[in-house]
Amino acid sequence: MYIHQHTCISPQQTNGLIQLEEISISADGKLLAKEPVLEGVPPAMLRRMSKAVRMGIGTGLPLLKNNVADGIIIGTANGGMEDCIIFLNQIVDYEEGLLAPAAFVQSTPNAIAGQLSLITKNRGYNATHVHNGLAFENALLDAQMLISGHSHKSYLVGGVDEISSYNYNIDCLAGWYSKIKTNKHLYTDKTPATIAGEGAAMFIVNGSPVNALAQIKAVSLFHSTDPGTVVGRFKDFIAEWAPVADNTIFLSGENGDLRQTPLYESCEEVFGSAIPVARFKHVTGEYPTASSFALWLACYALKEQNLPPHFYKNEHNLSQVDRIIIYNQYQGMQHSFIFVTQ
């Protein structure tokens, strides 16, 4: 499966003019996405959209305007959770009486793919995957299966998630997020928990290598809480798909949570010091579909043939980037490997 175009909205300057040299600093343990002005969206539609939907439209619409897509496939763990809570509170406040429709309509996870379809009149395949920390990877697998049967077809594939106050508070209480951590010292602050993030990244994919930005060679996903299983699966993945380590970056989803760092480090050790390790959660924060940003960053690195220094964990002498291996996990349970090449 080949990636032909991509867009990204994140807490950094990744939409329009991309600037990754200097990064925005988190506040109160959160990295909030920078939203662009949305053009081509009717004002009445826009004012009803939750942030997740706006980010999805902001990334998906430019790609659908420039490409003919046979379908829209979105991965989102929570969709517009903020609006979902508004709707649920209304049910309680008004004793299950007369309920306004907008918050409900916008809060369903498939509102993103649905709105993209409505705005662009794209009546093709339309699916939303909601497998929490593996939602985006499942969207990729869906596209891969569709393309394996019809290589001439193109699809918009993306991952989107917003920080909702409700989920954020629950995750803070559960110890996943810290309100005092910052992205400035994310990897050196050796404590549990990480910072929250949000964003959207979308891709036009099809089976044609002509003028492609990158190829997704393999996607592997699984559930496990056993570190030994994770490393074993990683070794198998590398042996099958990426036995050559030349000009390769290992893009790690390390998030500064002391409890999860060993998972990433044990995968790094599979390579020894053979390939450089890059990290990205200090620019995005943690969220269930952060791997979509990782894929976007992999495409960026392949195009630019490097990444700004702050992404690298150690010094390196990489002068050419041909392959990127992404490992990301969510809350110590959901793991994925993605292998991307030129």
Binding site: R47, R48, Y94, L98, A100, A102, V105
Partner: protein, 87 residues
């Protein structure tokens, strides 16, 4: 409640309920159409306004034709609320 105060309250509620980020209550004229021209509201907004009338004033609109007349402008809404409110 004075009629002008009621109109001001309705304008504030419309801005809040319909999430009109770029409109302030002062921008809404008493006699301008709420739908189509003027404020440019649409059919989903009309449902939101009917819900708003029920929640805030205890007014239940059953007949869609009647609803269309009531929701014509701030003036028509304020007149109807004044006569039919139950809270």
């Amino acid at each position: 409640m004075e009629k002008d105060a009621l109109k001001q309250q309705v304008k504030e509620q419309i801005v809040k309920f319909l999430n009109l980020n770029t409109v302030s209550p002062a921008d809404i004229k008493d006699d301008e159409p709420l739908f189509g021209e003027g404020l440019g509201l649409d059919s989903i907004d009309s449902i939101e306004l009917i819900v708003m009338l029920s929640r805030e004033y205890g007014i239940n609109i059953q007949d869609p034709k009647e609803g269309r007349k009531i929701l014509t402008s701030i003036n028509t809404m304020a007149d109807y609320i004044e006569q039919h409110r139950t809270k």
